[in-house]
Subunit: 136 residues, 2 copies
Amino acid sequence: MTGSRGLLPPGGVDFNQPCVVRDVVDRVGDRWSMLVLAHLADMPQRFNALHRAIGDISKQVLSRTLRRLEEDGFVSRTVHDVTPPQVEYALTEMGSSFLEPLRALIGWAEAHHQAIVVARENFGSAQKAGATRTRA
Amino acid sequence: MTGSRGLLPPGGVDFNQPCVVRDVVDRVGDRWSMLVLAHLADMPQRFNALHRAIGDISKQVLSRTLRRLEEDGFVSRTVHDVTPPQVEYALTEMGSSFLEPLRALIGWAEAHHQAIVVARENFGSAQKAGATRTRA
DNA sequence: CCGGATCCCCTGGGATACTG
DNA sequence: CAGTATCCCAGGGGATCCGG
């Protein structure tokens, strides 16, 4: 018994209107945010350290991502006034608390990744077979 | 103590390479997928029912969203062969299991939504003040 | 009723080059 | 070192019209 009906509280989560969830997903659901948060979970890190750790992200985009995460209070940015400059990024208390649902998501993803791959293959085959998918 | 260091398993989640999580987030992290899943959590529904329930989504996009969710095995599509045609969408077992991490995310979002709003305001003020943000 | 086809726009993401 | 400035492109999202 994995499922659980009644996700939305009776009366309906305010999922549409100001849409709290979308507000969050819009920020954190992009290509890099979660990855950055996951890296910062290990320890606070400097800009180039993050850049190297992540690898295939441009400085431009990393900068934008960090900026948005800072703006929304997920990470803090601290400038150490030395030469050469050092800027340290760290999770805030809030950013840290986000690791919990994030871990849930990661767990689910790892558990079902294979199933998704299979589903895609099946779907592809069904398409080629000319079926209109499931019929009743 | 909300946080919890060590999100990534020692050795590092295979978060970058084939990136399981991104694979999932890329599908479910778009503008509508989670919303659709949440609506289907209540009960299986037909196309136009979903369309009306969600409101400000175009049929085109709803169609694409459902197609992708079906392709990845989150929802099932059943054609009832009557006139006029009826097509019923429902969560699969896997789609149902996704409600769990989704609920975690919703919970977090509702709990911290206000904090995010505040953070944005503070950030805005700090910017106008001309500060280079946090300094040490 | 359930979409597919088409067209448009806008944003996110990337490459490259340049500064304090 | 830690970014910003520019330019570009692909894809997501929307509007509208048409077909089975």
